[in-house]
């Protein structure tokens, strides 16, 4: 008790240098995380989005973590400051936005958390954004480049994005979203046993998640009409827009695919084809062999199982 009080006093006192801020933050990181998590929990409670179970606790923890990460970086620009007050003010500001969290009770399942975790990561990471094309539709980097009609420089970046994602990005995103290895295996099992049911469920959840996170795009990035998409590809501009919007909007992706069908004859139309693990090096080759052997001609369950084993 006394120790706790002492800590709280220390965090409420003025920190005057960056070094002091870093040292104190490192010392009391667990307490800071608990405080941030407490704020997230209270927000969920007050907005009627709370239940006493592990998935809600995990959600609160994850948001506490994300907010604390921002505090640790932005606090360094705020010295001299009182750490507790600064943390509280950053969190209060975040929660005062309209719909700050992507909350839906259906998203609390392992599959929901996986999809929400990937998509929320895609908002802040271009690697994750590119990887969405693979995780949701099974497109390889080469196919992504062709569907998006990217130029040489952008294509090279896509390959780098996939590479970084494979090496570290995926692991980090999964770990942060709180989906355990056991849960991943469970989803894979479901996918193997009831592919259609899982696909329908994923389709429904992806729509929920994408609708929420598309709001974080600038206002001048809305869904385009068929004609506007056609112009954009014909006149060959706005790569960023294509990448961002098409990764976050399935309807537009299908629209663009149909528009460019003649050039994409060997690529199947964007269907939900969930992949839980990142695309491995030479993954498409092994995918090809699996397909040949599997005989269903659809890069679905079997191939994903096979790929996932190589990456586990």
């Amino acid at each position: 008790m006394g120790e706790r009080q002492l800590l709280s006093t220390r965090l409420s006192t003025l920190v005057s240098t960056v070094e002091e801020f870093d040292r104190l933050a490192a010392e009391v990181l667990p307490e800071l995380l608990d405080r941030a998590t407490g704020h997230a929990r209270r927000f969920l409670r007050e907005t009627g989005q709370w239940a006493d179970d592990i998935s809600h606790e995990k959600l609160a923890l994850r948001w506490g973590y994300e907010l604390l990460e921002r505090f640790l970086v932005s606090g360094r620009t705020e010295v001299p400051c009182r750490p507790f007050f600064l943390l509280d003010s950053i969190i209060a500001k975040y929660f005062s936005q309209p719909e700050p969290l992507c909350y839906h009770k259906d998203l609390l399942s392992p599959l929901g958390r996986f999809l929400e975790g990937m998509t929320s990561r895609a908002v802040v990471s271009r690697d994750a954004l590119m990887a969405l094309f693979y995780h949701l539709y099974g497109f390889s980097q080469g196919q992504v480049v062709r569907i998006l009609g990217l130029g040489t420089v952008e294509s090279q970046r896509v390959y780098k994005n996939f590479e970084r994602w494979r090496q570290t990005g995926w692991q980090r995103a999964v770990s942060e979203s709180g989906v355990s290895e056991m849960e991943l295996r469970q989803i894979e099992e479901d996918k193997h046993r009831q592919p259609e049911r899982l696909k329908a469920e994923a389709d429904r959840l992806i729509r929920l998640v994408q609708t929420h996170y598309r709001r974080s795009e600038p206002e001048h990035f809305p869904c385009l009409t068929h004609q506007k998409w056609a112009d954009l590809f014909e006149q060959d501009y706005d790569f960023d827009y294509r990448v961002w919007h098409l990764a976050m909007c399935r309807d537009c992706l299908v629209d663009v695919y149909e528009l460019r069908q003649d050039e994409l004859i060997d690529i199947q139309s964007p269907q939900i084809d969930l992949r839980l693990r990142p695309l491995q090096k030479g993954g498409i080759v092994s995918l090809f062999w699996t397909q040949q052997g599997g005989g269903n001609g659809h890069p679905g369950g079997q191939s994903a199982q096979r790929l996932s084993r190589t990456s586990a």
Binding site: V18, E19, A26, L29, P30, L33, D52, D53, I54, E57, K58, L61, R62, Y65, L68, E69, R70, L72, V73, S74, R76, T77, E78, V79, S89, I90, K93, Q97, R121, V123, V124, S125, R126, D127, A128, G151, R157, K160, N161, R164, T168, G169, R172, S175, E176, G178, S180, S216, E217, P218, D236, Y237, D240, W244
Partner: protein, 440 residues
């Protein structure tokens, strides 16, 4: 929750803590493309593979609350949370490199300027070496000998690259243990900081007599205008540079087209188009910058007019016999003096310090309350600014009427003050009805 769930949860908590402890924020290599988020929306990127990339962003309606800079992997390398309105300069380290950012936040928007500064590594040293080497080659015709030059450069580059690579690796190895990075608010050179000068002025305002204050403010306005002019000329320079770059890019593209037989006219055309598009985007950015500066200048000149008016009024109210220089009010003087009576038609007199009247002390002042209404469409910010200018204290607001209290020096009647206030562009009407808001 059962025990199993509890342990699952605490394992998750541990993982998150571990991620916070080791964010691998010390990426030493070129960070590639940095994404910039304002209020959690991605508003643009900084391509660090280019030389000195910059980004300017202006928000015209919404205040800037948060700014985040992330690598393509999503790593948070810079985060800024605006705590109040004003200007601030921040420096974020990105591995060995850094981002310098200045933020100006207002109630109704703001401006961000961001610049990535690569650490001067072997590439830079190599570049300088090559440049000086090339500078020493006499009589090379730029166009005709492009290939000769390229060959020469290649040879020098190869030779120097080996040397520098070796040297750099050794140096990096030595440094790799000490890459803990630090953020610190950068010290701002006085000639570029509006924030600091206005803060300093605010402090002085409390101590100086009112005429001195008006003069200081006018001086500040002039300074700011000078700064703006310097900034405009910098922008113009940048535009010129961009144009030059465009020309040289076009030349390069043409050169490439001429030199390689494999390039079809349509490919060449595409390349040219891409270059043109880049240039257009750059020009758009410049244009935006110039617009911002123009708007800023407009605001400044109207502020200057207001100051001049006030100065004139003050001059006219000067008691004829007093002739001390501007003095510091002795002791703490929380009462801010306000504009007093204005005499119609009196010519404005130049304000030489030797003739300046000594301001009345706070104990000679009287509070004066009045109601003021503003022209339709006047923004809250302009209203706040005006009230600040007259050192008023805002009371209740009712049906478009603002109740304001100012401190007028005795024994000046408030008529002159009211008269000068009525002349302000945004003011619709002023009245002294005390208790009931007029028009009710």
């Amino acid at each position: 929750m059962d025990i199993q769930e509890d342990s699952q949860l605490s394992a998750y908590r541990e993982r998150l803590l571990e991620a916070l402890r080791h964010p691998s924020r010390q990426a030493r290599e070129d960070p590639g493309l940095l994404q910039v988020f304002v209020n959690h929306e991605c508003i643009g990127t900084l391509d660090c593979s280019h030389a000195d990339p910059t980004l300017v962003f202006a928000s015209h309606e919404r205040p800037i609350q948060t700014i985040e800079i992330r690598t393509e992997a999503g790593l948070l390398v810079g985060s800024f949370c605006a705590q109040d309105v004003g200007a601030k300069a921040v420096r974020f380290p990105v591995g060995r490199h850094a981002i310098e950012m200045s933020v100006h936040t207002r109630l109704d928007g703001g401006i961000i300027r961001m610049k990535y500064q690569a650490a001067k590594g072997w590439r830079h040293r190599l570049h300088s070496a090559v440049a000086s080497f090339m500078g020493g080659l006499p009589g090379l015709d730029q166009r005709e000998h492009a290939w000769t030059r390229a060959l020469a450069v290649t040879q020098v580059v190869l030779a120097l690259a080996v040397l520098f690579l070796v040297a750099d690796r050794v140096a990096d190895l030595a440094k790799s243990q000490a890459t803990v990075v630090q953020v610190s608010p950068i010290s701002i050179p006085s000639n570029t900081s509006q924030a600091i000068s206005s803060e300093a002025l605010a402090l002085q305002e409390q101590k100086l007599v009112r005429l001195m204050q008006a003069q200081e403010a006018a001086l500040k306005t002039l300074q700011t205008q000078q700064e703006e002019i310097v900034q405009v000329s910098r922008t113009v320079e940048a535009v010129a540079k961009a144009q030059q770059q465009l020309r040289s890019n076009l030349l390069t593209v043409q050169q490439r087209g001429a030199d390689s037989k494999g390039v079809t006219p349509s490919k060449l055309n595409n390349l040219l188009l891409a270059e043109l598009r880049n240039a257009a985007a750059e020009r758009k950015q410049m244009h935006q910058q110039i617009q911002e500066l123009t708007a800023g200048k407009e605001a400044l000149s109207s502020a200057l007019v207001a100051l001049e008016t006030r100065n004139r009024v003050l001059e006219q109210n000067r008691p004829p016999q007093q002739s001390a220089g501007p003095k510091l009010a002795s002791g703490p003087d929380p009462e801010k003096p306000a504009v007093a009576k204005a005499t119609e038609g009196a010519p404005p007199s130049p304000t030489a310090p030797a003739q300046v009247a000594e301001a009345p002390r706070a104990n000679l002042s009287q509070p004066f309350t009045f109601w003021v209404s503003f022209q339709d469409g006047t923004s809250e910010a302009s209203i706040e600014q005006l009230i600040q200018e007259i050192h008023g204290r805002k009371g209740q607001v009712s049906a478009g009427w603002y109740n304001v209290e100012v401190t007028l020096p005795q024994p000046q009647p408030p008529d002159g003050f009211m008269e000068s206030l009525r002349k302000a562009k945004i003011v619709k009407a002023v009245t002294t009805s005390r208790n009931i808001p007029p028009g009710q």
